[in-house]
């Protein structure tokens, strides 16, 4: 049954990909990329990669579509008519061919002899219960065994966020006209009574769910990345219905900018704390001298919180940037 479902999802995926490439209506393309992400997330779930699916749903189907639509509200929906030229097609065909050729060298799907299953994975799977004592091995690998990689990813998010903010501005410049992305929709949304009532009830639960995902990541699917995105999505939802100024009163632009750096600092701080405890950087066992497993668990909670704060702040800051941009336009 599962192979059948996977095959159907792959067929849908192919159809959506072709349609995204062919359509000239960017709004339709944004909708279709949302479907594409949902399909990928479904496939990841079926492959039992629950944490990846979680991220794909939150980032791909959630925030990305949100940001694409925010961009569209600044640029307009129809795509410029394409110029017919064969050179790009050649480049794409060449790159695609090279990628297909590369897949020939990859191990077959589900091959137990694949390097991914032989290198360090068995160690991680065997040692996690003893070393850290948490059931979600993905979180253990991400936050403890591979803490350096995750720190690198977080710094990439920080750099990307700073880059976007430099491009669109942090959103507090420009006189506060009535045409702000937030307040304009505020007027229009005021008539949508159902939306307003439901959103007012739902937003606290979205934020609560984000906190659950944040602090339950060591036991179930989830963690800082997903939680940060869900938290930001809750704030953005509130901003889109009640006006961006309402959100800014709760979470000021300044606080968001501080949060972007604070999360990374917290991550590095946990690493430095383990250095001071006499262990290596990001070796959390030093955090609790009596019980190394407990120390590692604490360290994971600490760095996941850092990840969550930075991700949520970057997403919210980008939203503020877009809102301020359309206010000035």
């Amino acid at each position: 049954m599962i192979p059948l479902i996977s095959a159907a999802l792959f067929a849908f995926l192919l159809a959506v990909a072709v349609a995204v490439a062919r359509t000239r209506d960017l709004f339709a393309a944004a909708m279709l990329t949302g479907i594409f992400s949902l399909l990928s997330a479904g496939l990841f779930t079926l492959l039992d990669a629950v944490d990846v699916a979680f991220t794909e749903a939150a980032v791909g189907a959630g925030i990305s579509t949100l940001l694409i639509l925010g961009t569209l509200s600044l640029t307009g929906s129809p795509e410029a008519p394409p110029r017919r030229s064969w050179a790009p097609l050649g480049v794409v065909a060449l790159a695609g061919g090279a990628l297909l050729y590369a897949t020939l060298d990859m191990p077959a799907f589900g091959d137990p002899g694949a390097p991914a299953h032989l290198h360090v994975a068995p160690e991680y799977l065997a040692d996690t219960p003893e070393d850290i004592g948490i059931p979600n091995v993905v979180t253990a690998v991400l936050a403890s065994y591979r803490g350096y990689d995750t720190l690198g990813e977080l710094v990439v998010i920080l750099a990307a966020g700073v880059g976007v903010l430099l491009l669109v501005g942090s959103g507090d410049g420009g006189g506060g006209g009535e045409r702000a992305l937030g307040s304009e929709s505020h007027v229009r949304m005021r008539e949508k009574l159902v939306l307003r009532v439901v959103a007012r009830r739902l937003v606290p639960f979205v934020l609560l769910f984000a906190l659950y995902v944040q602090f339950h990541g060591d036991y179930g699917p989830g963690g800082g990345f997903q939680a940060g995105v869900v938290f930001a999505a809750g704030l953005i939802l509130y901003g889109m219905i009640f006006g961006v100024d309402e959100v800014r009163r709760v979470v000021g632009p300044r606080a968001v900018e501080v949060g972007i750096a604070a999360g990374v600092l917290l991550f590095i701080g946990v690493g430095v704390a383990s250095l001071l405890g006499g262990a290596n950087f990001l070796d959390y066992s030093a955090l609790d001298p009596h019980d190394p497993a407990h120390g590692r668990h604490l360290g994971i909670l600490g760095i996941e919180l850092g990840v969550g704060v930075t991700v949520a702040s970057v997403m919210t800051a980008i939203y503020y940037g877009f809102a301020g941009r359309s206010r000035r336009a």
């Binding site: 049954m1 599962i2 059948l4 479902i5 159907a8 849908f12 159809a15 959506v16 349609a19 209506d25 709004f27 339709a28 944004a30 909708m31 279709l32 949302g34 479907i35 949902l38 399909l39 997330a41 479904g42 779930t45 079926l46 039992d48 629950v50 699916a53 979680f54 749903a57 939150a58 189907a61 959630g62 579509t65 949100l66 639509l69 569209l72 509200s73 929906s77 129809p78 304009e184 929709s185 229009r188 949304m189 949508k192 939306l195 439901v198 959103a199 739902l202 979205v206 769910f209 179930g220 699917p221 989830g222 997903q226 869900v230 999505a233 809750g234 953005i236 939802l237 889109m240 219905i241």
Partner: protein, 86 residues
């Protein structure tokens, strides 16, 4: 039982996808995406029980929340378009 439900959900997904591809108006596409989102939630829930992994419901819950946020964005997108392009 669950298999039959999964097949039914897949067929509904195919129909929604067809509507999203064909359009022709923005409203068709939005409704199609909404429906696709709910069907993904259902499919994951069904597949979770089908493979004995009921904890996938957590995931389905996230999808439902994201779906709600998206729906509101799409109204925003429409608002910016003033009725939308055909």
């Amino acid at each position: 039982m669950f298999a039959a439900a999964a097949i039914a959900v897949l067929i509904t997904m195919a129909l929604a996808l067809l509507r999203a591809l064909r359009g022709p108006t923005v409203y068709d596409r939005i409704l199609a995406l909404n429906m696709f989102g709910t069907k993904t939630v259902l499919l994951i829930a069904v597949a979770g029980f089908l493979t004995g992994r009921p904890e996938w419901l957590d995931l389905a819950l996230l999808y439902a929340l994201i779906g709600f946020v998206l729906r509101n964005t799409k109204y925003r997108g429409l608002g910016a378009d003033e009725g939308g392009t055909p």
